[in-house]
């Protein structure tokens, strides 16, 4: 049967390929993909959107889904891991080695996903707070709506540095340069789950299993995601 | 009584106000209203046609109440079935001459086609010399051609009464004679009551079974042609 999969925007490229592979392996199964920011996906489900599988870019969004009864806690599982990186424009003269270097006067604008709603921004904020740098850097922050907007700003040289996922940084090797990876005390783990309201539970579970399978993981790895 | 009208109406524009007081009882079929510019002639016709609501009074035509403030009667213009030639024609700018004339003949939601026909339309096109410009739009007409189109439009649907506001003012004398005869002919044939506003003595002579003079919003007198059955109240 047909299932609808709502997935975080950062999974767009990888999930498109996975859906194709899944449909090839399971004739008769059909996957309708719906991409948006994780928060938007949550709201759609909360208001009754007919979704069978939900994949978010962070644990917090999935936590909320569980709290709201959209997803059973038992149904969720982590399927991919990502790394947070600071990138600079490819032609940047800055030599940044770690978070404290961001306080240099030469760094005047930093793209950070809006911590209020964008997971990548939330991770960045956690890291900066842990390093006691958040108050210092808050005034330099340019809040973006998602990780791709941060990446774009860096690529265009509109900002001096930006926080992005490794998977995104890998998309624009000629335009951005990875300055350093940001150490985090909580890992960036992507959870996926069959929804409680799914009308096609069997197919949904089969798709979730496929993601966790060797074939699914291989495709995710191809796009730079690590195993959970 | 063919005409039994007794209305008043105050029009206001800024400081100025204009007070119309129209009383007219007459058994004549053809009434001509004369009067200086601004006397209230056009406004009177508008009230009769149902385009201007009088403040008080009544309007009865041939025994039928079109308006009666006391009885709460106020027929919509559509129900009055009158033929009205507006002083400034009010031609439909998006329709050609033929369509303008045929406008009232079809009741549906669509305008008559560009070559709208019927014997009646053709008759008036010929009678008023409009045949060559039947497919021209109003903006492409001369002043007299517009007036003739508007007159034809008012006459073609066989209305229950005719209200004509200076119907020949834009025409040359020769054409005036022809059109007067056409109108005379039509009126005699259908025996339709008619009120005609004019500044032209010849119009008055030809159509004025009763001639009224308006001045400052009021009918002044019935100087000539009045007969015993006609009472002009004041």
């Amino acid at each position: 049967g047909e299932i609808t999969v709502s997935a975080a925007a950062s999974l767009t490229n990888a999930f498109r390929e996975i859906a194709g592979a899944y449909e090839a392996q399971h004739p008769g199964g059909k996957v309708a993909l719906n991409f948006a920011a994780s928060g938007v996906l949550l709201q759609q489900m909360a208001k009754g959107a007919p979704v069978d599988v939900f994949a978010s870019a962070d644990q917090e969004t999935m936590d909320m889904a569980v709290q709201q009864g959209l997803v059973k806690a038992a149904a969720r599982r982590d399927f991919a891991r990502n790394t947070l990186q600071v990138v600079v424009p490819a032609d940047s003269k800055l030599a940044l080695k770690g978070l404290p270097d961001l306080t240099q006067a030469a760094v005047s604008k930093i793209a950070i996903g809006n911590p209020a709603s964008v997971p990548v921004g939330r991770y960045a904020r956690h890291a900066l707070e842990a390093a006691r740098l958040w108050p210092l850097l808050e005034t330099k922050a340019i809040h973006t709506q998602n990780v791709r907007q941060s990446l774009d700003y860096v690529a265009r040289g509109e900002v001096d540095a930006g926080f992005v996922y490794a998977t995104d940084a890998a998309l624009m090797p000629g335009k951005v340069r990875v300055a350093f990876s940001v150490p985090l005390d909580t890992a960036i783990l992507y959870p996926i789950a069959r929804t409680a309201a799914s009308t096609n539970g069997a197919e949904a579970s089969r798709f979730v299993n496929f993601i966790a399978s060797r074939a699914g993981q291989a495709i995710l790895a191809k796009y730079g995601f690590q195993q959970p | 009584m063919l005409f039994d009208i007794d209305i008043d109406k105050t029009l206001r524009s800024g400081q100025r106000s204009f007070y119309l007081r129209l009383r007219l009882r007459s058994a004549h079929r053809r009434i001509v209203i004369l009067g200086p510019s601004g006397a209230g002639k056009s406004i009177s016709l508008q009230a009769i046609a149902g385009l201007l609501r009088p403040d008080h009074g009544h309007i009865r035509l041939d025994g039928r109440s079109l308006f009666d403030a006391a009885a709460g009667i106020d027929l919509a213009p559509q129900q009055r079935r009158l033929g009205y030639l507006f002083q400034d024609y009010a031609l439909f700018p998006h329709l050609n001459v033929r369509q303008n004339i045929a406008f009232g003949l079809t009741g549906g939601w669509r305008n008559p086609p560009a070559d709208a026909g019927g014997a009646a339309v053709d008759y008036w096109l010929d009678a008023f010399g409009l045949r060559p410009m039947a497919r021209q739009m109003p903006a492409e007409l001369s002043g007299g051609q517009r007036q003739r189109t508007a007159l034809a439009r008012a006459l073609v649907a066989q209305p229950r009464a005719l209200l004509l506001d200076e119907p020949f003012a834009a025409l040359d004398p020769a054409l005036r004679v022809t059109l007067r005869q056409e109108l005379d002919h039509l009126q005699r044939e259908l025996q339709v009551p008619m009120i005609l506003i004019t500044h032209d003595q010849e119009d008055a002579a030809m159509f004025g079974e009763q001639v009224l003079r308006m001045q400052d919003g009021a009918v002044e007198m019935a100087p000539d042609g009045s007969d015993a059955a006609a009472l002009i109240g004041f």
Partner: protein, 224 residues
């Protein structure tokens, strides 16, 4: 590239329906506001403009609250007709229609107000019913202004993605309109694809608008 054509077809379907809906309601309400005087008319006019002022995503959110399975309208539809609008192309139509609505009714009102009232009077005296006068006099004479609004509404509906994304989602082949696809291509850093899709959207839009401008009856409406 097949996906692009499917998205295009969907976009055109959605925009056409949204425009058709607005043709009826926008023109109708524009006419009523122009002709009927009632207390609160200006306030109503302004309230009806509000879909313009809300960010489409926010509008989409409220729409979701309303027609979602747990919204009161959505629950009612579900219960009585078994209809669930979320994630359907009909939801995209609804979103686009609401977003574009002010673009039609406001110019329509202005256009109707510019029509010479004496012409409607003349039609009345000729015995034409009010409804027929609307179609035969008022509408043709106001048509230019209305058409301008309709074309804007069509373009807006074609470009709508914020509210659409919320209520219809972005399911390729089902609810992913061209503009949502463009948005996602830009987000995904696929500049080449984005440019191509923008080119397609723009070309189609220009073609449709030009055709509409030429085909639609273009009464010049000059006074005689």
């Amino acid at each position: 590239m097949d996906a692009a054509w499917i998205a295009l077809a969907l976009s055109l379907k959605v925009a056409a329906w949204a425009t058709a809906i607005n043709l009826v309601f926008g023109v109708g309400i524009g006419f009523l506001l122009a002709r009927r005087r009632f207390p609160g008319r200006d306030l109503l006019d302004t309230l009806l403009t509000l879909p313009m002022v809300l960010p489409p995503t926010v509008l989409g959110y409220y729409l979701l609250v309303l027609i979602g399975r747990r919204g009161w309208l959505g629950a009612w539809l579900q219960e009585h007709f078994g209809i669930n609008l979320i994630f359907t192309w009909q939801a995209a139509v609804l979103a686009a229609a609401i977003v574009a609505f002010p673009l039609v009714f406001k110019p329509a009102r202005a256009a109707f107000e510019a029509v010479d009232g004496q012409l409607e009077q003349a039609a009345r005296v000729l015995g034409i019913s009010e409804m027929a006068i609307f179609f035969r006099v008022s509408l043709p004479l106001a048509w230019r202004g209305i058409l301008a609004g309709l074309l804007l509404a069509f373009a807006r509906a074609l470009g709508e993605f914020g509210a659409t994304l919320m209520v219809a989602g972005s399911i390729p082949g089902k609810t992913q309109t061209l503009s949502v696809a463009v948005y996602e291509a830009v987000q995904a850093g696929q500049d080449g694809l984005a440019n191509l899709l923008v080119l397609i959207t723009s070309t189609v839009c220009v073609a449709v608008l030009l055709a509409a401008g030429w085909l639609a009856p273009g009464h010049s409406g000059r006074r005689a």
